[in-house]
Symmetry: C2
Subunit: 321 residues, 2 copies
């Protein structure tokens, strides 16, 4: 890794030391990995793509929409920004290898905030052996974090949204609804609510999802970013099948059942970055929550819930109220 | 390529049809390429990385800092955003294969603006055979375009900033200063100035730079995004050498010499996305502008200009006035 050593201390707002000093300061906090053939410091990074393909996904986080500085630390935001992107790569059945990070920051942003962000990104990536290989730093009125994640399919076919077949089991990997419960607590001023950390710092079950992907039994998978209901719907429509969720089978994390509207939180909350998958075989560690059915003549692909009336506004969509 | 067909017309502001309709609308405008193994529409894209490595770079463009909607069309912004990233990949000696695009947009942004942006990104990428493989779309008060470019080294070693050696020639590929002249015209209200299009829509010399990279004669290369002087300085310091620029050898595009401060524009203007390179052999089509020298004992690596006193504030740095 091409790490440029920090030549002096930068403190105060990011605008004080200038862009290049801040880039040196951030770069010095990063670590490499065997996948990083050329790290930060040049026009572009070079990352290993051993099987001749690379998986790539990008996400933006905007202050006031995806995070609030009074609710989350910079470190939390870094963890969350990395998690959102790493989960997209894992949802394809790929091992994440690298992150690229663009930061648009107001001039009065404390340089320490950028340190925290970099540390959070680094530590979340390191959970799956990935590292930050490059980025960009620009001035903006709106604090925005743009992350791109790369990944390695290890010789396997990607697990798309469109591979679900009638007869498959529908499973969820992880615990949906915790981040939404945490957000609901924050929005009502309960800053010490039980699940606020699940909102601040989601914990996608990377290892379990990758283990199941490597087993070869998954036929389709999607990262739950818009909500269990909405994303199962995306998967069902991409596969042109009907997905049926048994409400009683949705796993609720310890204590979540005590929260008001727990099942609705689990069905519509997206920020946990669980995974919904379909499988034709055993999936140890995942929770079977339903099944995949063929469409009747004239029927539209989609998702239905058995045993619960889901809220009408299911899942998150930008510019929708 | 997995293109989701547009099921209906979306017009008016982006907020009207919602995020998913807008994504379908954009995706329908895109085209694929043999490098795209799985395009937009899933959690992540899959792109060919034939030689087992991938080159990756990311850049942000922020309204009011990198573009203005009253000076540039959406199509211009798309061309420019793509160019900035494609040039970074080419500066490593790699053939660009794919772009990922994040768009943070105010709810009142006309949906037609997003069409123009997508068309501009697509058309600039197609100049080098690359295509848009994925993206993200979020709401924000500040219009921001985040682009990540991927590239293929075609079996060669990357051309870094650090390979320049004493005795090499210093060359520029392209015509520096035109975008800065155009920006100066726009800033003084001359909207029909001779070089305004060079600011709106830079034309990096991708093909020539790649041809020279493939020749094997280049020892170092950098994309000129901060200015010829500043970026030659970056290259010289990364290579621990002294770079000497002959001011009289800097190529000035037709008509640029008539602009006030033409040489300063060429030395400090960055948005042309020319390339500065060093070479140990012939470089047909590039302009030799100087040479690489060894450091004298105690001397610092850097760049000097012969025959002209460059302005003290050389090149662009965010949060620097």
């Amino acid at each position: 890794v091409c790490v440029i050593p920090v030549s002096g201390d930068v403190s105060g707002p990011v605008s004080e030391g200038g862009e290049f000093a801040l880039i040196r300061r951030i770069t010095a906090r990063l670590t490499g990995s065997p996948d990083v053939l050329l790290g930060p410091g040049d026009d572009a990074a070079v990352v290993a793509a051993a099987d001749g393909r690379v998986v790539a996904s990008t996400d933006l986080l905007v202050e006031g929409r995806h995070f609030r500085r009074d609710w989350s630390t910079a470190y939390d935001v870094g963890r969350k920004a990395a998690a959102a992107n790493l989960a997209d790569v894992v949802a394809m059945g790929a091992r994440p290898t690298a992150l690229l990070v663009g930061l648009a920051a107001p001039g009065d942003l404390p340089a320490e905030w950028v340190d925290g962000l970099a540390d959070g990104l680094r530590d979340e990536a390191s959970l799956v052996g990935a590292s930050i290989v490059g980025g960009d730093l620009v001035a903006s009125d709106t604090l925005t974090v743009a992350v791109t994640a790369l990944g390695d399919l290890e010789g396997r076919a990607p697990i798309t949204r469109s591979g679900a077949a009638p007869g498959d089991s529908l499973v969820v990997i992880g615990w949906p609804g915790r981040a939404a419960a945490g957000l609901a607590a924050l929005e009502t001023g309960r800053l010490d609510g039980r699940f606020v950390d699940a909102h601040r710092r989601p914990t996608p079950p990377y290892d379990l999802a990758l283990t199941l992907a490597r087993s070869g039994n998954l036929t389709a998978m999607i990262d739950v970013s818009d909500g269990l209901l909405a994303d199962t719907g995306h998967l069902a429509r991409a596969s042109n099948v009907k997905a049926e969720i048994d409400a009683a089978s949705i796993p609720l994390a310890d204590g979540l059942a005590d929260e008001p509207g727990a099942l609705d939180l689990a069905l519509t909350g997206g920020d946990d970055h669980c995974f919904v998958a379909t499988t034709s075989g055993p999936v140890e560690g995942a929770s079977v929550i339903g099944r995949v059915l063929a469409l009747d003549p004239g029927e539209s692909a989609g998702v239905t819930v058995i045993g619960h009336s889901p809220p009408t506004a299911g899942g998150h969509e930008h510019w929708r109220s």
